[in-house]
């Protein structure tokens, strides 16, 4: 019995991590329609930054924030200098981001070598919590907590603040948004930076749990992709539900059908595509 409970806890933890990853992807791909194939690379590079900071003896939270900040700068530079010139051209955007994904992947392999890095769980977050007679690993609960906080913060930002209203206006009708004085281009750079930072932050949060190794980028990218396709592009609630669904499928699939776990992961996406192409919580775009 307790095996299943533990599996469920792991699933929720992975779901939280996936949400942190795909929330940024949802903003960049779902909201701004930029097919950002470097999102997995942001995750991996962020994780590598994080382990390097931790190696230098930095506090875990500080390392995660710094890594997010660094990635925001890198993402911002790429968006501002290169992606911005390709506005609305899907194929060039795909190729550019794919090119950077390869570059980042190979540079990481050069700098951090092919060996996996797994930082120790920070001491104050290690250990376990006892509830209902079962021990839960604290760090996994912390991941879920952070994911929930980020989810609420993003939801408040997008749906209830002036900034969020401006972003939505810029997405829905850029020319009119510009006419009423919204700096759409600057706003989009900001959203891109935020998405990149979230991916890097997720990378650091995931490092003690998944460890960091070459190839992690292209393992995480499809996961972010299926979460967003499953939940519906541009829907944060969809990303949240999708993340936890995938978290459960991944862990239970791994436990029950280890050979085919990877395939099981994609089944709900295929089902959603056939039955409800706009995703579980997606809007139908006219």
């Amino acid at each position: 019995m307790s095996v299943w409970v533990l599996l469920a806890v792991n699933s929720i933890a992975l779901g939280g991590l996936l949400f942190l990853l795909s929330a940024g992807f949802s903003l960049i791909f779902g909201l701004m329609r930029i097919p950002n194939l470097m999102h997995g690379s942001f995750f991996m590079l962020g994780a590598y930054f994080g382990v390097t900071f931790l190696d230098k003896g930095l506090n875990f939270w500080l390392a995660a924030l710094l890594s997010g900040l660094a990635m925001a700068v890198i993402g911002g530079v790429i968006e501002r200098l290169l992606l911005r010139r390709l506005e609305g051209q899907v194929l060039p955007q795909v190729l550019l981001t794919l090119g950077f994904a390869f570059i980042i992947g190979d540079l990481c392999l050069m700098i951090w070598t092919g060996d996996p890095w797994q930082p120790a769980t920070p001491r104050h977050l290690a250990g376990a919590v006892q509830a209902f007679g079962i021990f839960f690993p604290l760090f996994r609960l912390v991941i879920v907590g952070v994911a929930v906080v980020v989810a609420i913060a993003l939801w408040l930002m997008v749906d209830w603040t002036r900034l969020g209203a401006m972003i939505r206006a810029g997405v829905d009708d850029p020319p009119i948004a510009r006419v009423v004085g919204i700096k759409v281009s600057r706003l989009f750079t900001l959203v891109f930076c935020l998405g990149a930072a979230l991916a890097a932050f997720a990378g650091v949060m995931g490092a003690p749990y998944l460890s960091v190794y070459p190839g992690l980028d292209f393992e995480m990218l499809p996961l972010a992709l299926i979460v967003v396709i499953l939940g519906g592009t541009g829907s944060l609630l969809g990303a949240l539900v999708g993340s936890f669904l995938i978290g459960f499928l991944y862990n239970f699939g791994q436990a029950m059908f280890p050979d085919l776990a990877y395939v099981i992961l994609f089944l709900p996406m295929l089902l959603v595509l056939v039955l409800r192409p706009q995703g579980l919580f997606g809007r139908v775009v006219a």
């Binding site: 791909f29 329609r33 097919p35 194939l37 290169l82 010139r85 390709l86 899907v90 194929l91 060039p92 795909v94 190729l95 550019l96 794919l98 090119g99 950077f100 994904a101 390869f102 570059i103 980042i104 992947g105 190979d106 540079l107 050069m110 292209f218 499809p222 992709l225 299926i226 396709i229 280890p258 050979d259 085919l260 776990a261 990877y262 395939v263 992961l265 994609f266 996406m269 295929l270 595509l273 056939v274 192409p277």
Partner: protein, 330 residues
């Protein structure tokens, strides 16, 4: 009527047929075989990317499905004919599944779904070790010997590949000029108008996907016979990206473009791999450079850049004489 174009084609075929004679060295003949087989692959992808306007990032998955299907049947002890037929059938079935799912959407959606499907194939090849032997891959011990002619030598294999390549080019030419090719281009440029004209846009795209999948499968079979080995690496996203690079670097929606692109990428890969281990880095940089500086493709783009640089150089050399003429007089 014989035009210069026909002459050029005849000359190209003559050069290709006599290639083993004037190249001589086995290493270079093998590289030529590689170029031809990847040209078939690139031509197949170009049907979707160039003529259909549907960018697939999962074609390495189909390529690997053909390879694995063939390799598995051969490993089970069956003959080459059975293996090849089975591999083509499986690839066609997989293409149909890919098409049904990916054609729920176009544009970014199509691309993302094909990417995800390609990753599934990679996941199966990598994780389902009891069937695919995981990371260790599968060896293909023999090459076929059609009509008693063994393909185990570099030059005989080259000729077999050349034959397949010429067949592929021929069918592509027929396809491009056929009403079906025209209707596919119609769905690319004016999908809504095509629907209004009574064409079944979905069906046209679906059939184009099957056509592309068929030649991808053929290329996949050539690949396992060439390499005599297949591993999950073949299905990785890098593979899909490489073949896409072949298509766009030579210029999409042309017949010659993907062939030139295949030659460029294969030669570049072989040259780069001889000196450094950083092929992915080079691949990424090439992508970024192409997109940023020569969006029309590597071949036309380099010509334009060279011409531009040459003009700058010339302007500088006799700059004093040239400059006042360019500037508007106050």
């Amino acid at each position: 009527m014989i035009t210069p174009r026909h002459g050029a084609i005849a000359l190209a075929i003559l050069l290709l047929v006599t290639l083993p004679v004037w190249v001589g060295n086995h290493y270079y003949i093998n590289i030529a075989s590689q170029i031809l087989l990847f040209a078939v692959f690139a031509l197949a992808l170009n049907v979707l990317v160039g003529y259909g306007g549907l960018v697939s990032l999962g074609h390495a998955g189909l390529f690997a499905i053909a390879g694995y299907a063939g390799a598995l049947v051969l490993q089970a002890g069956h003959g080459h004919l059975a293996a090849d037929l089975f591999a083509i059938l499986v690839t066609l079935a997989a293409s149909a599944v890919f098409a049904v799912l990916a054609l729920r959407s176009t544009g970014i959606g199509f691309l993302m779904i094909t990417l995800a499907l390609g990753q599934i194939v990679w996941g199966i090849a990598y994780r389902w070790a009891s069937v695919t032997n995981g990371d260790n891959g599968i060896n293909v011990t023999t090459r076929p010997a059609p009509f008693g002619l063994s393909l185990s030598r570099a030059d005989t294999f080259y000729y077999a590949t050349l034959l397949v390549f010429l067949l592929a080019v021929l069918t592509m030419t027929v396809f491009v000029r056929s009403p079906f090719g025209a209707s596919l281009r119609g769905t690319r440029d004016q999908a809504r108008r095509m629907t209004a004209l009574g064409y079944n846009v979905w069906l046209i795209r679906f059939l184009a996907f099957l056509f592309s999948g068929f030649w991808t499968g053929i290329a996949g079979l050539l690949f396992i016979y060439y390499n005599q080995f297949i591993s999950p690496q073949v299905a990785a996203l890098t593979g899909s990206a490489e073949v896409l690079l072949m298509v766009i670097s030579g210029g999409t929606a042309t017949l010659l473009g993907p062939i030139a692109g295949a030659a460029i990428v294969v030669i570049m890969k072989n040259v780069v791999s001889a000196y450094i281990e950083r092929w992915n880095l080079v691949l990424g940089v090439v992508f970024v450079v192409i997109i940023s500086f020569m969006p029309e493709g590597l071949v036309p783009g380099s010509v334009r850049l060279c011409r531009w640089g040459w003009q700058k150089l010339r302007a500088r050399r006799n700059g004093v004489a040239a400059r006042p003429a360019e500037e508007p007089s106050p």
